[in-house]
Amino acid sequence: MLKCENITKIYNDNSWFSKKESIKVLENISFHLKQGRSMGFAGRNGAGKSTLMRIILGLEKATEGTVTFMGKDIHSLKYNELKNVYKDMQVVFQDPQSSMNPQFTVYDVIKEPIENYYNYTKDEIKDIVLNLLSAVKLSEDKMYKNITHLSGGEQQRVAIARALSVQPKLLILDEALSSLDMIIQAEIIKLLEELKEKYKLSYLVISHDIRIILKLCDDIIFLENGIIKDRFFIEQGINNPSDSFKNMMIV
């Protein structure tokens, strides 16, 4: 489903007068994600995880390497061709509050993707939004509330509902849980597990917290300053992890 071949990203700070320093953020990352399996990217802050996500989403161009999703090469697509790629690949960002327009109500946030891909009538959209809200276990009376009045956990549920509204095949979770409290984290993880069974989703989990990855993913890639240090598959388990991966595991 999603294949990346030796992605490399170099930021060269060629501002006008300073000497040319180039920072290598990612170095030949390649992996293959089959339909139905979930993959996790573990690594410390600043290991290049979010840059990789932005490249997969086509928000940024990789200096070298290709990203093919459902057979299409992301980088060669123009802006409006990317649109139908996004239909199958949705994102949930880290800070729920900033990933939604503060002036919008819950209904506006969730209906935005629906309006982009389908042309349903007003009340058809209303029904979809309603059962999406129940899918993410949010009560209906929250539908017309402004999103800034919701708690962190509820906002993240709305973001998940928005992502599910177009029945994507791959859901990318960019540190989606790290800004939430523990109890809410546990609830959201339970929700994500149920949704995975129900909609046959595959997840691409990006997190510095190994516990979340172990909960949701079948394969793990451990990134350290832009290079793949370890690669594990659930079938073989964690065999001979590098020491930096080991101390990721123990607090």
């Binding site: 139908n84 960002f93 900033s98 993707p113 982009n116 800034t148 708690s151 973001a159 928005r162 992502a163």
Partner: protein, 278 residues
């Protein structure tokens, strides 16, 4: 309290606008009828505020003056908004070459002091109301264009714009639904705050005799005409001054109320752990 304050302000504004629109109906006399026999008439039932040095009814001249001031200020602000929104959003959205060229142009306009630049444009274009409007608009648009550009750039990086892009919204839709509402609301607030300031510039120019010319009923001109008779008839100069003051004050207060009200809405109400207002 805020709502009561806003109601008072908006009613004052309504009075000003109505008196400008229906000036001919409200004003008892034609502001240009010269009646030398009746010069400097004191306050009487027929002439509510007396007459000026040419016997014209002061009250009607003030009413017509409202129309003149509002027209000049609104025309200026529309021209400023028109120019700044276009230049600002092009610079903000396109970026790259467009951005640097347009910004250099703005820098050029901003190197000149505003009022001096207005004087210069009048020197080039000549005196008169339309030239005043153009002059003041040309001196203020650059500052607005910069602000529009910075808001566009700032909102473009916001997460919810990237999220909208990832949920398939077209570029145009993102602009209209996410970016423009924020830009417009900020710019409108700035414009209301600046209306008063521009009105003072218009009055200043007409005081110098470079803006609206003598016979027309405009507050700046009225003050200028009343200047030589300040010793015996100071009130001729005080009435138009008070009108300018009230109109500018109303615009400023409305601008401030909008700014305070709008800013609190923007501030997210999620419980901030360390609410430090001590």
């Amino acid at each position: 309290m805020k709502d009561k304050g806003l109601i008072i302000l908006f009613s004052l504004l309504a009075i000003i606008i109505l008196s400008a629109l229906f000036a001919p109906l409200i004003a008892p006399y034609n502001p240009y009828d010269v009646d030398l026999t009746n010069k400097f008439a004191p306050v009487t039932s027929s002439h509510i505020l007396g007459t000026d040095h040419l016997g014209r009814d002061v009250f009607s001249r003030i009413i017509y003056g409202t129309r003149m001031s509002l027209i000049s200020v609104l025309a200026t602000i529309l021209l400023v908004l028109f120019l700044s929104l276009i230049v600002g959003s092009i610079a903000g959205f396109r970026g790259g070459l467009f951005d640097s060229i347009l910004m250099r142009i703005c820098d050029v306009f901003l190197t000149f002091p505003t009022f001096i630049l207005a004087l210069f444009f009048i020197g080039v274009l000549g005196v008169g109301l339309i030239n005043v409007i153009i002059a003041i608009a040309l001196t203020h648009w650059a500052w607005y264009a910069r602000i529009v550009r910075s808001i566009v750039l700032e909102t473009k990086q916001k997460n919810y714009v990237t999220a909208a892009k990832c949920s398939g919204s077209s570029r145009l839709k993102i602009v209209l639904k996410h970016i423009m509402p924020k830009v417009l609301s900020q710019v409108i607030i700035l414009a209301t705050l600046d209306l008063g300031h521009m009105m003072l510039h218009v009055a200043g120019l007409s005081f110098l005799g470079l803006g609206v010319q003598a016979p027309t009923a405009e507050w700046g001109v009225m003050i200028n005409d009343a200047a030589p008779y300040i010793r015996e008839h100071p009130e001729l100069m005080i009435y138009p001054g008070i009108c300018i003051f009230i109109t500018v004050a109303v615009f400023n207060s409305i601008g401030e109320k909008l700014r305070d009200r709008y800013e609190t809405k923007e501030f997210s109400s999620s419980e901030s752990e360390l609410c430090v207002k001590s």
